[in-house]
C-alpha cells in the first residue's frame, strides 16, 4: 500500500471524468469496509482510490414514488434499518439490515458497496435480487440500467465497467397478495459472514392458495456466486401452497444448488439448511398474506 494515492473528486461528474481515463487503475471507495481489508490482505492492489463518500446529498436517499423504491448508492445499512419504509411487505429488507455486521459497520456500509462487491458474504444482495432490483450505473458518457440478476456474473465479478459508478438501486414495491422473508445462517449471532443467506418474495393468486410468482435468491447457488434460484422459483409458480409442494420444491432446490465446502461448513450442510429455510420462508410469506387479506 505504500504507493497508494487517493483522489477526492469535487462532485460526481468530476469522479466520472476521472474514471473515464483512469478507471483501470482505480477503485471507487465509499466506506471501505469491504475494500480496505482486501487491500490489507493483498487480494487486490489498486493504485488509486477514488473517494465518493462525500456525495451524500446526491447519492444517499430512500425515496418512494409510483410504486417504486429508490435507494441512493450511498444509503447506509443503518439508514435501511431506521427507515419507516421497510415494514410490512418489505420487512425482509429491515431483517437483513438488522442482522448485518454490527452497529459500527452498518453505520458506514453502503447499499452500493454491497452490490458492487458481488460477494457471497454481502447480506443485501439476495434481498435485492429477490426484489428484482434494477441498478443505475453512471459514466461520463451517460447512464444505463441493468437488472441485478444479470449484473453478477462470477465470484466478485460484475458487468460494471471501470469507468462506471453505481448511483442508484431501485425495485418495485410488492403489493397485493405478496410478502417477503429472509433467513441467515451463521456460526454466531452478530459480526458474522453468513453461510446461507436466503430471501424470498412470494405472491399468491386471489384464492390465497395458488402461487402466482416466487423469486428466491441466495448468497450462493452455484459455487460462491449470489444468484436467483431460478429452477426452484419456477417450480413454485402455479403450485398450491401445500406440504407436498414444499417437499417437492426442496428436492428441486437440492439438485439446483451446487454449494462448495469451506472452513465454515460443508456444502452438504448448507444445502440441507437452505432447504429447511425454503419451507420457513414460504410458510411465513403465505401466513402473512393469508393474514393481510
Amino acid at each position: 500500500m505504500s504507493t497508494l494515492e487517493l483522489y477526492t473528486p469535487t462532485d460526481l461528474n468530476d469522479a466520472l471524468r476521472f474514471l473515464e481515463h483512469d478507471g483501470g487503475n482505480s477503485a471507487v471507495i465509499a466506506s471501505g469496509t469491504d475494500l480496505l481489508p482486501r487491500m490489507r490482505r493483498r487480494q487486490i492492489s489498486p493504485s488509486i482510490l477514488v473517494d465518493i463518500s462525500a456525495f451524500t446529498e446526491d447519492l444517499r436517499f430512500i425515496r418512494r414514488s409510483d410504486g417504486t423504491i429508490r435507494l441512493g448508492a450511498l444509503t447506509t445499512v443503518t439508514d435501511l434499518l431506521e427507515s419507516p419504509m421497510f415494514y410490512g411487505r418489505l420487512s425482509m429488507v429491515r431483517e437483513a439490515a438488522r442482522l448485518f455486521g454490527a452497529p459500527q459497520v452498518r453505520n458506514v456500509a453502503t447499499v452500493g458497496g454491497n452490490v458492487c462487491s458481488a460477494a457471497s458474504s454481502e447480506d443485501l444482495i439476495p434481498v435485492l435480487m429477490a426484489l428484482d432490483a434494477k441498478l443505475k450505473l453512471a459514466s461520463a458518457r451517460g447512464e444505463r440500467t441493468v437488472p441485478l440478476k444479470d449484473f453478477i456474473i462470477g465470484k466478485r465479478q460484475t458487468t460494471m465497467k471501470p469507468s462506471e459508478i453505481l448511483v442508484e438501486v431501485s425495485f418495485n414495491e410488492p403489493e397485493g397478495n405478496s410478502w417477503t422473508a429472509y433467513e441467515k445462517l451463521g456460526r454466531r449471532n452478530m459480526l458474522i459472514l453468513a453461510m446461507v443467506n436466503e430471501a424470498l418474495i412470494l405472491s399468491l393468486e386471489d384464492d390465497l392458495q395458488t402461487i402466482h410468482s416466487a423469486r428466491l435468491a441466495l448468497n450462493r447457488v452455484s459455487g460462491k456466486i449470489p444468484a436467483l434460484a431460478v429452477e426452484t422459483s419456477d417450480f413454485l409458480e402455479g403450485k398450491r401452497v401445500t406440504d407436498q409442494t414444499i417437499v417437492q420444491a426442496q428436492k428441486v432446490m437440492e439438485s439446483e444448488l451446487s454449494l462448495t465446502s469451506d472452513f465454515r461448513g460443508s456444502g452438504e450442510y448448507r444445502t440441507e439448511v437452505a432447504q429447511v429455510y425454503l419451507r420457513r420462508l414460504v410458510e411465513r410469506c403465505a401466513r402473512h398474506i393469508g393474514g393481510s387479506s
Binding site: 500500500m1 505504500s2 497508494l4 494515492e5 487517493l6 483522489y7 477526492t8 473528486p9 469535487t10 468530476d14 471524468r17 476521472f18 481515463h21 483512469d22 487503475n25 471507495i29 466506506s31 471501505g32 469496509t33 480496505l36 481489508p37 490489507r40 488509486i48 482510490l49 473517494d51 463518500s53 462525500a54 443503518t78 455486521g101 454490527a102 452497529p103 459500527q104 459497520v105 453505520n107 458506514v108 452478530m190 459480526l191
Partner: protein, 170 residues
C-alpha cells in the same frame, strides 16, 4: 480543492492529502498519506491513545470512535476521507456529565477488567445513553454487539450501561 484535473497526468503530486478534521472540538489541518487510517492519525499525530487497535480488519470494534455522531471503526476509515468531519474520542468526553456518570457506573460494576475494550464500550454506551435514557438489556446488547470483550463475558458491562443511563434502565 483546486481546479479539476482531466487526467492522472494533470494531477499534482497526490501522495499527500490536505485535510482538516475536527477532533474533539478542535480543528486540525493536517497532511495525511492515502493509506493513513483515521486510527493512525488519532493515535500517532494527535496522541489520542484511548483509541486501541485489536484486529486491524474491522472485526473487533475496539477502535470505535464517533464520526459525525455515528459510531464507526476507525481502523477501516481513511483519514483522507475525514475532511470536514467531526470526530469524537473518549478524550473529548472526559468532562461530559453523561460520560462521567457512565464511567462511574463502569467502575462501580467492575466492567473494566483488562481495560482494552473499555474506551470503545464507553463510546458505544455514551452514544446509546444519548438516544435512550432507559434502555433494555436487549438494546444494550445490540449497542455493544460490534465490540468484542474477552474478559468480562459482557454481563457487568451491560449492568454498568443500564445503571449509567439517565433513568437507570428497565
Amino acid at each position: 480543492m483546486s481546479a479539476v484535473p482531466a487526467t492522472l497526468e494533470d494531477l499534482p503530486e497526490m501522495a499527500k492529502c490536505a485535510v482538516t478534521i475536527n477532533v474533539n472540538g478542535t480543528e486540525h489541518p493536517m497532511q495525511v498519506d492515502a493509506p493513513d487510517r483515521l486510527i493512525d492519525v488519532l493515535r500517532d499525530q494527535l496522541s489520542l491513545k484511548s483509541v486501541k487497535e485489536g484486529c486491524s480488519t474491522g472485526d473487533c470494534g475496539i477502535c470505535a470512535v464517533l464520526v459525525d455522531g455515528k459510531l464507526v471503526n476507525s481502523c477501516l476509515m481513511l483519514a483522507a476521507q475525514c475532511d470536514g468531519r467531526r470526530v469524537t474520542t473518549l478524550e473529548g468526553l472526559l468532562e461530559d456529565p453523561v460520560m462521567k456518570r457512565m464511567q462511574g457506573s463502569f467502575i462501580a460494576n467492575n466492567a473494566a477488567q483488562c481495560g482494552f475494550c473499555t474506551p470503545a464500550m464507553l463510546m458505544a454506551s455514551w452514544d446509546l445513553a444519548r438516544h435512550s435514557p432507559e434502555p433494555s438489556s436487549e438494546e444494550i446488547k445490540v449497542a455493544i454487539s460490534g465490540i468484542l470483550c474477552r474478559c468480562t463475558g459482557y454481563y457487568q458491562i451491560i449492568d454498568s450501561v443500564r445503571q449509567g443511563c439517565e433513568k437507570g434502565g428497565r
